[in-house]
């Protein structure tokens, strides 16, 4: 099934419960992030997703520290790309993590964007092709297969015979081709920065496409960009400054970001960072891509969206990287009907 075909709105199978997780950028030392992960786990979070962006702290070192401190939660690399490391190196790193935390590692990949490639000076020519090849090679390697590959990257006789076995693959991808690929290939689809009202339809389509391609639908981890405090909204604007730079021009224009404003945005992002560029983000963009407002409004909206979208994982961006924030997020999740890990849901 193509993603352009509309599947039925209801599925006969009972929906899986929605758990919650936290998306962390490695802005703190790994040991401090691990403290947060341990706290999140005790509050019922089912997953921590660790970003691999810019020249932040390293994804794999951070995940290794988290893997040793946590006990039950899933740990996502969310997400790395095929270019900053050779895919065989990424496969070896994820498989090594799986030795540390059996059954808890999710290998996440995306095509990459300006936040990743800008600081590294990379400009891949065929990012989607590289992503497709990377996922294929990594999946084969962690399953213990011997891989010969020549394409966007090459390897000959590559093998990780010590790999503990297959790993769930998460994919974050945009555009029709990327979404179709993710639907047909991923165990988890990571959705972030999507127009809120489009997510339910997109999720129905990717589940149907996954079911048609592999006989099972991918699980959905959705970051609805929930923000219920002024500081969270400010953080969201900064985050959207990056996102807007990578957005298709027509979509930007529809939200009030013309070419001049986009150029200023891009210049500010690269020269002074996303926080400085946040002020240029129009409210229309926030309304379209985030669930923001006071706590009561956010809880009600998330509860309704949870029922529409039925994601397996609802993901919150970490606000101030405090345990107090995690407690607030756990409260919002519970009030929105999200199940805490270990609560029997």
């Amino acid at each position: 099934m193509s993603l352009s075909e509309a599947p039925p709105e209801t599925s006969p199978a009972a929906p899986a419960p929605t758990h919650w997780g936290v998306w962390l950028h490695a802005v703190l030392p790994a040991a401090e992030l691990a403290d947060l992960a341990v706290a999140a786990e005790s509050l019922g979070a089912a997953a921590i997703l660790v970003a691999d962006e810019g020249t932040d702290r390293d994804l794999f070192v951070t995940l290794a520290v988290l893997a040793q401190r946590t006990r039950r939660m899933l740990l996502f690399g969310a997400v790395t790309n095929p270019h900053s490391r050779h895919p065989v190196a990424s496969a070896a790193a994820f498989a090594s993590l799986a030795e540390l935390a059996p059954g808890r590692i999710v290998a996440g990949f995306g095509a990459g964007g300006s936040r990743i490639f800008g600081p590294l000076g990379l400009a891949p020519r065929r990012p989607l092709s590289a992503l497709v090849e990377c996922v294929d090679v990594v999946d084969k390697l962690v399953r213990g297969q011997v891989v010969d590959h020549a394409g966007e990257f090459s390897t000959r006789g590559a093998a990780l015979p010590w790999s503990p076995g297959a790993l769930p693959i998460a994919i974050a991808s945009r555009g029709p081709r990327g979404e179709t690929f993710a639907a047909e290939r991923a165990d988890w689809i990571l959705l972030a920065g999507r127009a809120i009202e489009t997510v339910a339809g997109l999720v129905r389509r990717v589940r149907a496409a996954g079911g048609a391609a592999r006989g099972r639908a991918p699980a959905i981890a959705w970051n609805a960009n929930a923000a219920w405090t002024p500081s969270m909204v400010a953080e969201l604007r900064a985050h959207f400054a990056y996102m807007a730079v990578d957005m298709p021009a027509a979509e930007r224009a529809a939200l009030g970001l013309d070419a001049d404003r986009t150029a200023r945005l891009r210049q500010l992002v690269h020269a002074h960072g996303p926080a400085a560029a946040g002020a240029l983000i129009p409210d229309a963009l926030l309304d379209r891509y985030a669930v923001s407002g006071d706590r009561h409004h956010v809880v009600a909206r998330l509860a309704a969206l949870r029922q529409q979208v039925q994601p397996e994982l609802l993901v919150f961006d970490a606000d101030d990287y405090s345990i107090a924030f995690l407690e607030r997020a756990a409260g919002v999740a519970a009030d929105a009907g999200v199940v805490a890990l270990g609560s029997g849901g």
Binding site: A26, T55, T62, A64, A92, A95, P119, L122
Partner: protein, 341 residues
């Protein structure tokens, strides 16, 4: 010849072929025995070295952790710097970072791309990028790698500088290392003769760049096998020696002072008849040239020879001994007392 002023140390060079839990246990054991450092490789398609090193860091508190080595073709140099700085923070400043071209491995695995066609240029660029980022200094606009001189880490460094070592073999790379790096890690089956030659190259490169060679470090894997029964210890290195004699670059062999005809016989036997045939031709002379193998007295005497040749960090590598647990105890006790204290 100006000697390195780096302290004389005893370390262990571990493998990335064994389960991660075994590596961590060995590192803990090494720390318990008082070894100064453990070095972790990323040879072939073994475990991810930064993942393993982060695990070792979490399980230990004193022992230094060497990365020996990662190459800039598998990871963007800026990513190497990110990974190293993150790990250094996680281990509270115990990291020594090794980078190298790893060309033999990359070519064997079909992973050497166009950037690897000029390995010396690539490595100098890599060293300057990584070292610059790890020191918060202005780096270099890349010609081989897509990187800008103003590249910076997005997080505070745990310490002002993480020492950057280069895995180097030939003269040009050793001299470049002397000019740009903080130290060198030599590789497989080095001999005291090769150590002496390599240090001369490093010192020459340092002087040419206006640097004081004494500020640089020289560490190396040394094929060690120790046991109360010297025959058992020496027999244990024969197969490893045969493999590496057929594989290593000629300069490693020609500087060792070993009989060239014996070397050639082993090389030919491995290539034509296999490893066991080569191992059968390993003589006591070859063992004495390329390894420190025997009882504790033999090994201590041999390691003294490496130290006199200029080696500061002896990284006991590969065999360690026919009974590894006993060998670690002997190395940390009797041998260490004679050579390193």
């Amino acid at each position: 010849m100006i000697a390195s002023a780096a302290p004389r140390r005893l370390g262990l060079a571990l493998s990335n072929e064994t389960p991660l839990s075994e590596t961590v246990a060995l590192a803990r054991q090494a720390e318990h025995f008082g070894f100064d450092e453990v070095w972790l490789p990323e040879s072939g398609h073994g475990r991810g070295v930064f993942t393993v090193a982060a695990s070792v860091a979490a399980a230990t508190s004193q022992i230094k952790i060497g990365i020996g080595i990662v190459n800039p073709f598998w990871r963007h140099p800026a990513v190497i710097a990110m990974e190293a700085a993150t790990l250094d923070e996680a281990c509270h400043g115990r990291l020594m970072l090794g980078v190298g071209a790893a060309l033999w491995t990359l070519r064997a695995l079909g992973e050497a791309d166009r950037r690897a066609e000029r390995p010396l240029t690539a490595m100098v660029e890599c060293i300057r990028v990584v070292r610059g980022m790890l020191r918060g200094e202005h780096g270099v606009d890349g010609q081989v790698f897509a990187v800008r001189a103003e590249a910076r880490l997005d997080f505070p460094r745990f310490r002002a500088a993480i020492p950057v070592y280069v895995g180097a073999v030939n003269g040009r790379m050793l001299r470049a290392s002397g000019a740009w790096a903080d130290g060198v890690q030599l590789g497989a089956i080095v001999s005291p003769g090769y150590v002496r030659w390599a240090w001369a190259q490093i010192a020459s490169g340092a002087r040419s760049a206006g640097r004081d060679p004494s500020t640089l470090d020289l560490a190396s894997n040394v094929l060690v096998s120790v046991d109360p029964n010297p025959r058992l210890a020496r027999d244990a290195v024969r197969e490893v020696l045969a493999y590496y004699i057929h594989r290593v670059e000629p300069i490693v062999l020609s500087t060792a002072g070993a009989d060239p005809e014996e070397i050639e016989r082993v090389r030919r036997a491995v290539l034509e008849e296999g490893l066991a045939a080569g191992a059968g031709l390993i003589t006591d002379g070859l063992i004495d040239a390329f390894a420190a193998a025997g009882d504790p007295d033999d090994v201590a005497a041999r390691l003294q020879a490496y130290a006199r040749a200029g080696l500061r960090g002896v990284l006991a590598w590969h065999v360690i001994g026919p009974d590894r647990a006993r060998a670690l105890g002997l190395l940390a006790g009797e041998v260490r007392a004679r050579v390193f204290v």
